[in-house]
Structure formats: structure tokens, C-alpha cells
């Protein structure tokens, strides 16, 4: 559905050859036994004033998969996203993006540029700019002040924006200010902004909170269509929504992984039932 007219994937050297099914992936990567994984979190611990938000969390995510992360409040879902995107530094553990990129050494903009896009829980778009301008600013590439002062939009960039507008279903609203969009449309615009950066990984935090049933359905279609082309990690409370999109579910509890597997396996797991339904 999306035609990426920007940089080809192979130009992004560190993660090139990482995708599942890519014939080069074995030769391009080291002797590590975890080929095919795009994201590695190992033994991550984060403490806030003695409270362990993450407790030796270990999580591997396959390239191209759609992973749902669920868990009760305080399970560490948001902290985990903060660690992946560089907002929070863990006290211990390691976080790798592909085989070669150590996430713990990069700043937030560097991680974003390396190919991890994050969608916040609350839709955050640039309200006073148009939908088109929102996508324009989200384009991949160097983003220094001097380059941007004289930057003009190229036909290729224009095409990419049009393609993303089509994907997220906002073509009709392209010239409206983002502040005028409905809640659901803002969420899609934000996903569109992430897509503009051709990310390897999309982190999506509670995408359907506050959406109408139609919007939820549309969002499920959108996320399903993105899986495969991107690795999509969805953090969500809404179990109905999770069931409608999930292939593999990870349950977090008190900062570590409680269970992992298909939605059926997870729902049948006695530990999960105990955490979710109480003793």
C-alpha cells in the first residue's frame, strides 16, 4: 500500500538485512543466535525511588511481527517504551535494536532517526499546522536547522506524503489544520507521521483509547496492514481490540514478562488469570 520513495532500506546500514525473510540476513549479521529479532531487551531494570518499574525484563521481538503488550496498570508498559526510545535510562540490562545498534548509547532523536517511531497514548500532533505539514515535518532524513531553512518539498517527498495520507485515510483532510481533526483521526495522523520516517519499528501506545467502534475497526485494519512491512508493537488495555489484531501477546506484570504466546494460550494461562481477575 505504501510506496516508499525516500531512501532505500539498504541505505540504513545498521539494520539492513535484519528483516525476516531477507536472504542476506544471515550473512549480514554476526554469529549471534538471535537472528531475525529486531529488538532485544535483556535483563532491564529501572527503579524510581526504590520502586522497580521494570524488573529484569527480557523481551525479544521478531522483525516484521505485530506484537501486543498487555498488563495491568503499573506493569511497566510505558517505562518499557521509555527505555526503548531513550527517554529513560535503565539501571541495568541491555537494549539492542538489531544486532549492532545499542539503544542505551543513543539520544531520543538518534533513536527516532535510527528507525524506531513512537506513538504516544494521548494523540500528539502539531495542532496549528495542517495535516500535510504535520507529515512533511515527520519526513525521514537529516533535520538540522540550516538545511530546513531553505528546504523545499521534492516531488518524491510529495508522493510519499500522498501515499501515507492514503494509508491512514486522511487524503480529504490534508489541508485542514490538525487541531480540527477528530480524536481518531489525530491518532491516525500520528501513525502517519511515524510512517513518514520509514521506521523499522513502530511503538504504539493505547491506540484505540477513546475511539468509536468504527474508528477502532479502522485502526485494527491499519495496524494489520502495517505489520510485515514494519515491526509493530502495540501496548493496549482493550482486550477485544487485542484479540482482533494479535498474533503474539506478551503479558507484563510488576516489571517483567509473566506470559507470552498466542492470545488463546495467554488467556488460558492460570498466572495471567490470577493477575487479571485477582485471586
Amino acid at each position: 500500500m505504501i510506496r516508499f520513495s525516500g531512501r532505500s532500506r539498504s541505505e540504513r546500514a545498521p539494520s539492513a538485512g535484519m528483516r525476516a525473510g531477507d536472504p542476506n540476513r544471515v550473512s549480514a549479521t554476526g554469529p549471534d543466535a538471535t537472528h531475525g529479532y529486531i529488538l532485544y531487551l535483556e535483563d532491564i531494570t529501572v527503579s524510581f525511588d526504590g520502586f522497580r518499574a521494570l524488573n529484569a525484563l527480557t523481551l525479544y521481538v521478531d522483525a516484521g511481527e505485530l506484537r501486543c503488550i498487555i498488563g495491568p496498570n503499573g506493569a511497566g508498559k510505558t517505562t518499557m517504551m521509555d527505555v526503548i526510545t531513550g527517554k529513560t535510562r535503565p539501571d541495568q540490562g541491555s537494549a539492542w535494536f538489531g544486532q549492532q545498534i545499542d539503544l542505551l548509547t543513543l539520544t531520543e532523536p538518534e533513536i527516532a532517526q535510527a528507525g524506531i517511531g513512537r506513538k504516544f497514548q494521548k494523540p500528539t500532533v502539531f495542532e496549528n499546522l495542517s495535516v500535510f505539514e504535520n507529515l512533511e515535518l515527520a519526513m525521514a532524513g537529516p533535520k538540522t536547522v540550516w538545511k530546513w531553512l531553505a528546504a523545499r518539498i521534492t516531488p518524491a517527498q510529495h508522493q510519499q506524503i500522498d501515499a501515507v495520507l492514503e494509508t491512514v485515510g486522511l487524503t480529504e483532510r490534508r489541508l485542514d489544520s490538525a487541531g480540527a481533526l477528530s480524536h481518531g483521526q489525530k491518532q491516525w495522523l500520528e501513525i502517519g507521521m511515524l510512517l513518514m520516517q520509514n521506521p523499522e519499528v513502530l511503538l504504539v501506545d493505547e491506540p484505540v483509547a477513546g475511539m468509536t467502534p468504527q474508528e477502532v475497526e479502522r485502526t485494527a485494519e491499519l495496524l494489520l496492514s502495517l505489520a510485515g512491512k514494519h515491526t509493530v508493537i502495540v501496548v493496549e488495555h482493550d482486550m477485544v481490540f487485542v484479540r482482533s489484531i494479535a498474533r503474539k501477546v506478551t503479558v507484563l506484570h510488576e516489571g517483567s514478562v509473566l506470559a507470552e504466546g498466542s492470545i488463546e494460550e495467554v488467556q488460558a494461562n492460570p498466572k495471567v488469570i490470577e493477575v487479571y481477575l485477582g485471586e
Binding site: 517511531g117 513512537r118 496549528n128 505539514e133 515535518l137 530546513w148 528546504a151 523545499r152 490534508r174
Partner: protein, 384 residues
């Protein structure tokens, strides 16, 4: 619609920047008219004529225009980047002090003490030689450089530290206020070498031209008009560029901008320094026209007043800042002459009323009124 042309405002450049800026075109037109008419009515008719515009009024207008530049500088960072600086008076004063030092050196032996080497206040303090930081200020190009360097370097250092530590919102406002207050206290001290609480005054010449002469005053006036127009266009072009949209994006959703991969700190720092430079240039045009610079220019109240001009005019429009600066300063000139004790109350009342009833300032209210009037008309045309 889907694959239509490039939407407006996305093609950049000077012409495009002004094409969608009706208020700006009006402002630049008025500025041009003023720059042509004021010299005519000031220089041509004899002083007895009813059409004569006094040099006092010319200087007053010139002073307002430097304030308008300062307001544009504040609107650029506050209205577009969301950084509420309550210390912009400091950059204005630093630019003023830089040109003031040059003007002091131009006095030469014509001072009260007639010392060929030292300004009057140093003679008065029994100083034997010129402090090191005064060297070079006899040279006009050096002074010009300092007009840019003094506010620019301060803004760079201050902004680098503040933005890198992610100080923002009200905390940033408070430390900018502290910055200008600290500078005021420092400049009040006699041993700083900047004339203490008297500052600099009694200027004679600039580049060999008598500062009191009508033609010099007119030249300064025209220079100020050009600088005001230039600052406006520069800011407008920046706002219309992609970098300008990033600046507004930072204002609307800073974290989003950061996670899309923008170095928010660099953008903030860059726009903060530019704004300080414009304020410094405004200060350097202010001092030769009003003939005095002293530490009261650093007073925190001054910096707050600038923010009030912008709020009253309408922030985030640039021309609104100009309108606000003129309205408030004209009112100030009027009240401080007619009813001096009332002025601060009037300013406070003006600010409260505008905040309550005109949240988008004077120009925002005008825009809303025009839209409201245009709508029924447009609907009427469609009717068969």
C-alpha cells in the same frame, strides 16, 4: 484534490512568505509610507508651517519603532516557539550599551572634564586608564560587531545551558527574569566600568555627524524604519520556511517533535539567539535617538512590559507585536505626560482587559471580526 499542486506556504522563499501574509503586507506598506512622508513633512515645510512635523515627534516615532523591533523579537520566540522570555530587555540594553560605549568614545575632549582618553565618569571615579574592555570602542565597525556579539553570546550561553537542561515553561521565564535582574544590579555598580546608575549620556556625534542635527535624526529614523522592516521580513521568511514550521511544532508538541527526530534544543537555541540579536540591534538604534542608556533598561519590569505589548497586539502574528508596541507606548507617552500616577494602573487594566476580552490581541480581534462579516456575504452570493 488528492494529487493537486503543492499546498500554499510549502514552496518557501521571500515572495511566498509574504503572499499569505495580508497583515504583514499592510504593515510593510504603512512603514514604507511613513518612511517617505515623515522626511518630507519634517525637512521641507518651515517650522512655522502647520504641516511641519517636529524633530521631537520624529525621534519619538523612531523610538517606538525600536520598541516594535523588540516586540517582533519577543513574538518570534514566544508566539512561534512558545518560549516566554521575561528578560529580553537585557539583550536590548546590551545592544544599547555597546553603541553607547562607542558614542562615549566619540565625545573625546568635549566632556565636562575634557580628558582626551577617559569618559567623564571614569575621571570622576579617579580612574587612571581605560579598562581593557573599553579598548576598540573608538572604532565604529568594532562597536557594530559588539552590538551583535554581546547579546548574541549571552543568549547562546544562557540558551545552551537552559535548553540543554530542558528548562522550559514558567521556570525558564523565571530564570530569564533573574538574568536581567542580575545584569541590572551588575550595571548599577560603579566599579563595573559602565557608568553606574547614571549610565552613558551627553553624546555628541555618531560617525562625525552631530546627533542633535535634524538630518542625523532623520537618518537614524530611516535606518530604524529599514531595520524594523528588515527584521519583520526576516522573521516572516523564517516562519514560512520548513524550519519555521518545526519551531511551531516545538511550541505545539515538543515531545512529538523530539520523537520524530528533531533536536528540539538546537531549534530553540537558534531561534533564541536570533531573537536576542534583533533585540540587540533595536537597542543600538534606540540609544542614539533617546540619547541615554542606563541600568534601568535592564529592570525586570521593562522586560515584562515587552511581553504585554505582544499580548495586547496579538501574539503569533509578528505584525500584532508591532501594533501592540505602538499602542502601549503611545498610551505610555500620553499618560506619563498627562496623568503620570495613572500610567501603571492603565497598563495593568489594559493587560487584564485584553487577556479577558481579546485573547488573541487587537489584531486577532480584527481578524475574527472580518471573518464574521465575510461569511454572511459569501453565503449571500450563493443564493439564487
Amino acid at each position: 484534490m488528492a494529487n493537486g499542486g503543492v499546498p500554499p506556504m510549502l514552496d518557501g522563499g521571500f515572495a511566498a512568505a509574504l503572499r499569505d501574509d495580508r497583515g504583514g503586507r499592510i504593515f510593510l506598506g504603512v512603514l514604507l509610507a511613513v518612511a517617505v512622508l515623515v522626511p518630507l513633512v519634517n525637512l521641507l515645510p518651515p517650522e512655522s508651517s502647520a504641516f511641519h512635523l517636529s524633530s521631537y515627534t520624529v525621534t519619538l516615532l523612531g523610538k517606538y519603532m525600536t520598541y516594535a523591533m523588540l516586540a517582533i523579537a519577543v513574538d518570534l520566540i514566544w508566539g512561534y516557539c512558545g518560549i516566554l522570555s521575561l528578560g529580553h530587555g537585557a539583550f536590548f540594553a546590551l545592544g544599547g550599551y555597546a553603541i553607547g560605549m562607542y558614542l562615549m568614545r566619540q565625545i573625546g575632549t568635549r566632556g565636562v572634564y575634557g580628558d582626551p582618553n577617559l569618559p567623564d565618569f571614569m575621571v570622576f571615579l579617579n580612574w587612571q586608564e581605560l579598562p581593557w574592555f573599553w579598548h576598540g570602542f573608538s572604532s565604529f565597525p568594532y562597536a557594530l560587531l559588539m552590538i551583535l556579539l554581546a547579546p548574541g553570546v549571552l543568549a547562546l550561553a544562557f540558551g545552551y545551558l537552559a535548553f540543554r537542561s530542558r528548562v522550559s515553561g514558567v521556570y525558564l521565564s523565571i530564570i530569564t527574569q533573574a538574568l536581567t535582574y542580575a545584569l541590572m544590579l551588575a550595571f548599577f555598580r560603579n566599579d563595573m566600568g559602565f557608568g553606574g546608575n547614571n549610565g552613558f549620556t551627553d553624546f555628541k556625534e555618531i560617525l562625525g555627524f552631530d546627533l542633535q542635527s535634524t538630518t542625523t535624526r532623520m537618518a537614524l529614523f530611516l535606518l530604524t524604519a529599514a531595520a524594523l522592516g528588515g527584521s519583520y521580513v526576516l522573521c516572516r521568511v523564517i516562519i514560512a520556511s520548513r524550519a519555521g514550521r518545526v519551531i511551531q511544532a516545538v511550541r505545539d508538541a515538543e515531545n512529538r517533535a523530539r520523537f520524530i527526530g528533531y533536536r528540539v534544543e538546537s531549534y530553540k537555541l537558534w531561534v533564541f539567539v536570533l531573537s536576542a540579536l534583533i533585540a540587540g540591534i533595536a537597542g543600538s538604534l534606540y540609544v542614539p535617538q533617546v540619547g541615554i542608556i542606563n541600568p534601568s533598561e535592564f529592570s525586570p519590569a521593562n522586560s515584562i512590559e515587552i511581553v504585554i505589548w505582544v499580548a495586547i497586539g496579538g501574539r503569533g502574528t509578528l505584525y500584532g507585536a508591532v501594533v501592540g508596541a505602538f499602542i502601549v507606548n503611545y498610551a505610555k507617552t500620553y499618560f506619563t505626560a498627562a496623568l503620570p500616577s495613572v500610567w501603571l494602573y492603565a497598563l495593568g487594566a489594559l493587560f487584564v482587559l485584553v487577556t479577558l476580552f481579546l485573547p488573541r490581541g487587537v489584531v486577532g480581534a480584527i481578524t475574527t471580526m472580518r471573518r464574521a462579516r465575510a461569511k454572511p456575504l459569501a453565503a449571500g452570493k450563493v443564493r439564487p
